[in-house]
Symmetry: C4
Subunit: 199 residues, 4 copies
């Protein structure tokens, strides 16, 4: 298995998972009330946006890792498969939050979303640290500063999403707001801090 | 991030968003009335066609830009992600127009479609002008005439879609017709004016 | 636009259109009657199979053409876009046939399927003959026998699907059987006649 | 047809079929009962996981084969198309099992799942042995030990899935558990036994 084939499959899953999110965005109302219903449905668009951006950033991170990786073994393929399984799962809890934003179900929806993203972060950490531990799958000429930079950036993922999940036990709305803030933070961090050319 | 990987992900989102449009085309009727119902559903096919062509032309334009771009920085990745988020959103307002073509909801549906495409045009402009401003991400040997040609062709996008959106406040049907005419215009412009080989 | 990018987008649309066909295959029944309902739903599987094979063969043909084509102009891009729009439309009439196989709606469904594939054949012919006319977009070293072989194989497409569509006016079941036979014929023709290595 | 194009199309179908599985995962409940309903729906997540992993492993195996294959003839294309048709079908019986896990329909659902995967195994065997028989489509420098290793690993596929299918006649739950165990076995076999670099 060359790394390029793994990337082609992963690209497909990332692109499909993100684009499928739109299937769950729908507004059903009689003609005369449609305008009002479209405005009322803002949690659906917000949930779509947050999950699209979250999957998009994970796609960017996946490639940042793959650029340092020169070889693939079967254990790595397995970890990658579990990671993609988590990412393709994201549309489900996204839809739960959108559907139950205005009712009692929001806590359960937010917990499901948080658990999904926490497990995804665990898989993402395993993905990277399995490849990087002792330079197992890295390119020989990989820059140690880039490697340790990626490693440092992966450490906070699990605590951040784990904390947001625990917040849902206290306040579902606060947790949902936090998921949005985390996505926005990652987006702005890329955009503001990272304006150096990377190719 | 190499430009080729960005293109692979973008290709996926464009192809999936366009192909997913068919999911919303459906006709439900008892057997004996099916023929009539299939003919009655022409706004669904028209909406499918207009949005498929619109997404397809945006895909062509995306590649026209990418051919001039030699480097990618993280801010550009962010803009590209927001652009793709808009494009993957198009099936939602497309379905609203198809569902409400014959009732009072058409104005709200047309406004939603227009706002979506206006924001998409803003993102597309940002995408190109961020890369082109001062030659920031362009190839060193990029032809200045090609660059300014692309820039000129991007300027009318926002006013055109913005105007069509405003027309919806006056007449929903006129706005919907205008969306069709705009797609047809871009399609014919490519076809009639642009028969020069580009590869 | 390089031919490889056009192929990447087309590959995506072909693969998605074929794979999306499964969304419309569904059997809803209470537990105790599920076994019976699954057997009763055979037209759904047959329709899935016929359309999957039809789209798959069109994918093979698309690449057979693209291997002879060295350049792409904007008019060709437009024709290609219209062709892909037809192919991505195929799941809709496929589902009509599956849903109405046992009722009065089959004639209307078969006509819709036939018209879709006839128009698709027209687009496919335009796609090839636009590129091949006077060698407009062909590679300079293209083998004239291969070119005229492809041209010959494209001529019967429109009459074959047009005839099957007309048959639906006389007997819907006969037309549906004919769509299956045509797909099987193309599949076996490839398999039995064409065992020469092509790479 | 070059092998790379066949792989691009196959990659698309594998990635889409796996990612589409999430569409059938849904939980509908009033807000106050959502938490309970999400926990109750565990067979949906399990079915999603088992089928995602199964499709993912088939993707890995497909590429393991393709790495040894240097040429493609039209008969091989046809077999590949039938194989992809089976794989894209997997979401249907997966959904049947998830929907009927707690009712009388599980036996019929398990039989459908088993028959689908048995036929898929037959296609996969045909795919490989057609290419490998007498070295028909293999690279000239293919390592005979790798070839016979792949051949050996393909022989048990049909008996394994065939047996699990027959088990469904005796106990539907046992058959479903077996499908999960088979997927887990293939996953762990890759992960534990196969930690050698393969690129």
């Amino acid at each position: 298995m060359e790394t390029t084939r793994l990337e082609a499959f992963a690209d497909g899953v990332f692109a499909i998972a993100a684009t499928l999110l739109i299937i769950d965005v729908s507004v059903r109302a009689p003609g005369g009330e449609l305008g009002h219903a479209i405005l009322e449905a803002w949690p659906e668009y917000a949930a779509y946006g947050v999950s699209f951006v979250t999957i998009g950033i994970m796609w960017v991170n996946h490639h940042t890792c793959m650029r340092q990786i020169a070889a693939v073994d079967r254990r790595f393929l397995t970890i990658n498969l579990l990671l993609l399984m988590c990412i393709a799962f994201v549309p489900f809890p996204t839809n739960l939050i959108a559907e139950h934003f205005h009712d009692d179900g929001l806590r359960a929806a937010a917990l499901t979303y948080g658990v999904t993203l926490t497990i995804t972060s665990v898989c993402f950490g395993s993905f990277w640290f399995y490849a990087a531990r002792g330079g197992r799958l890295l390119a020989e000429d990989a820059d140690p500063r880039v490697i340790s930079g990626i490693s440092r950036s992966y450490l906070p993922g699990v605590p951040i999403y784990g904390t947001a999940t625990l917040v849902a036990l206290w306040s579902a709305k606060a947790a949902v707001a936090l998921f949005g803030v985390i996505a926005l933070f990652y987006l702005l961090e890329s955009s503001i801090l990272g304006s150096r050319a990377t190719s």
